[in-house]
């Protein structure tokens, strides 16, 4: 399985990433599922600043992607996560999963996002007016990741 993992300041083009992913193993790819996360305007939020742990973040995401490849027959995975300051409406994260069949692509995409949210070392700071606050981790995200342990 090909793994393309990028932590970057720059935006990404979702259709270009899907193209690149399907080109890698065209004979094995019957389905691509993608998830794109955006900065949402909650309670007057104007921007987010994302911090990460260079080295560990890439390593942790690679580990999560390898775990997904053990559970489902995947031909390729692309994960792009942006860092730095992002305004409302900007893209934050892309998970694209190529597989032979749709069920595996959908499931692996959801699994990867659930694990990304609870294991990959990123931290969000929210800006509202002149105020900056670190986001608290949500127990609902832990619960979402936890359910994959039982299945």
């Amino acid at each position: 399985m090909s793994q393309n993992i990028h932590i970057q300041v720059e935006d990404f083009d979702v259709s270009e990433e899907i193209e690149a992913l399907t080109r890698e193993r065209p004979a094995a790819t019957g389905a691509v599922a993608t998830f794109t996360g955006y900065v949402r305007s909650d309670d007057g939020l104007s921007a987010l600043t994302l911090e990460h742990y260079p080295g560990m973040t890439e390593r942790e995401i690679a580990r999560i992607a390898s775990e997904a490849a053990k559970r489902w027959p995947l031909s390729g995975v692309t994960i792009i996560h942006r860092v730095g300051r992002l305004k409302v409406g900007e893209r934050i994260v892309l998970v694209a999963v190529a597989s032979s069949h749709r069920a595996a692509a959908f499931a692996a995409c959801e699994f990867l996002m659930d694990y990304l949210k609870t294991k990959a070392p990123f931290w969000k700071q929210e800006e509202r007016g002149g105020d900056a606050q670190w986001v608290e981790a949500k127990s609902s995200d832990d619960a979402a990741a936890e359910r994959w342990r039982k299945s």
Binding site: R59, T118, A120, F122, W134
Partner: protein, 83 residues
Amino acid sequence: MNVLYFAWVRQKIGHSEETIAHTPELRTVGDLASMLAARGGGYAEAFADRKRLRAAVNQIHAGFDAAIAAGDEIAFFPPVTGG
């Protein structure tokens, strides 16, 4: 050992990285956390509630009971909030 801090832990402590000499008393991540907390000020604030903290040893998630050794990279940070 190279010790790293992220997010509000980094802000309370006032820097992102420092070198700390390993001593025989520093057997675990928790021993290091206690030694740092005893410095007072921002360190005491950052390490006041361990339930709000996570750690990694050599870039792998680790508990406060994980063993540490000279040359390790140890990081302290809040629960992650990416995605």
